[in-house]
Symmetry: D2
Subunit: 166 residues, 4 copies
């Protein structure tokens, strides 16, 4: 049976609090035996979540913006250059069983919107893009808010149970 993939989205820059949360989230994803998928850049939420997952011995995948293997987060097991630029955002979303969105900007918000559009459950970790946006995206879609990485991992688990994957 294929492995469960949890996508972690978030800004290419991150303040200390966001980076710490992303790292802790990465650790929890690994400890649950889920694969961590991210945009794979060596900065911000992407690097922090990969670092956390790696320290806990998890499997980590990065779907890169660029067309070579160079611009990758340290500690990634599997580096997938696409050369598609922001066109790769849709892959991040569609390939994830559940998406966790940390604080981010336009790129992250586009991924949240696409996840809701394509029926991937979304957990917002310490990030609130507004109920108007979430409701507009979300007719019938599933999403939840979480204040801490532990809460986020719990919400991910609940969505995976609903999906029959736990």
């Amino acid at each position: 049976m294929r492995k469960t993939i949890v996508g972690v989205m978030g800004g290419s820059t991150a303040d200390d609090r966001t980076a710490a949360a992303a790292k802790e989230l990465g650790r929890l994803i690994a400890e649950n035996g889920w694969v961590l998928l991210s945009g794979g850049r060596p900065t911000g939420v992407m690097q922090a979540s990969v670092t956390g997952a790696r320290l806990a011995g998890g499997l980590t995948l990065g779907v890169l913006y660029d067309d070579d293997h160079e611009e990758a987060a340290e500690g990634l097991d599997i580096v997938l250059p696409t050369g598609l630029g922001a066109g790769r955002n849709i892959i991040n979303v569609l390939s994830s069983d559940v998406v966790v969105a940390c604080r981010g900007q336009g790129g992250t918000l586009s991924e949240i919107a696409l996840a809701l559009r394509f029926g991937r459950p979304v957990v917002l970790l310490d990030f609130d893009p507004g109920a108007v946006f979430m409701d507009a995206s979300a007719h019938g879609a599933r999403w939840a808010m979480a204040g801490t990485p532990v809460e986020a991992a719990q919400k991910v688990r609940e969505f995976l149970i609903e999906l029959g994957r736990e």
Copy 2:
């Protein structure tokens, strides 16, 4: 000199008010001599805006979800199948000089977020996805709200003047 492109985004379903506004917007885009670009499907905001532009003799482009020319809005001059699914949303955004967003859901919201992320000015026509979302996407980005198609066309013109294209 290349032609100015105004992208019209919005739902694949549209209520009467939204469809009427999209049609009127299409007409105004054509009358201003701008090319209308949309997702090109034969439904909702896409079909309505194409219909309006065509009646006014404008040039209309559709960047399709599918891999053949069939599923296209009636009246499109130029039909561009991509086979990329929602991966084509980024093209809608990057190819537009200015984006006008009518009411829509996740697909439309992903396009707004990407437009703000990549510096394409956005006009929201009778559609408010929330200031929190817009501000989160928009550090330094340009956007405006419009209540009517006439106001939206005016905002588009102002952005084009800023861009040196009018």
Copy 3:
């Protein structure tokens, strides 16, 4: 009814003979009332074909590798940045009613293979990638060789008649 699109593929560098043929081909495409679609870069076969079509008053489209409007062939009417890199090759192919391939390398050959795979007729203009390749790609697909731009335009017309578009 939508406009007929003829895609011109070929190298981003071109020797004098290839550039002259591409320019002449562009002129013939315009004179036949077809839209010229290319990869839209300001070099090689792309620039030459656009120049030819523009001199004859045709409509020209460029589907760009990059994510802004800057790196475009001079004379393009409609510039479509995609930011998809070589991921945009599939759009060149799928959006064309008929593809003409001038001399090129890997990028051009990938477009020929995809065209044959997706049932877009291909005309090879003074370019022979080998019958083994063409036959391997082409179970049931349509392609023809042409020694000159005039012959190529004639072959395009014949394919368009078969497709019911002329």
Copy 4:
């Protein structure tokens, strides 16, 4: 350090000899500790190579044509739906350290051409698309022919040594 990825390309249908070779190749990739990447469909060379790798306990990745996880080869560890259709071919190529091409048609040939274009070494396993095609794609690119899976794995290893990855 990131894992080495060997991409296996080939037809979505395969005769017995090609399927047997793809399965054996998958086994050898796994035994060498390389990750097997393929288009991930449950047919032809894709399914056969995944089956071989899985029986040998290797890690297998599929980059899917479709937008959900359903249409995946049996035995895939990591299933990545892209929704990009043939637009995902470029990912197969760019994400591979070395590409092995089994017998295929237009899709496979487009991947060989892109691999040569982007500097990914190619091993042709019991498949010859013609020297004219390979040379046209290949100015300065690296490729080799192999008659058997054992020879193909040996060629892959040699290319990986050149790349400093073994």
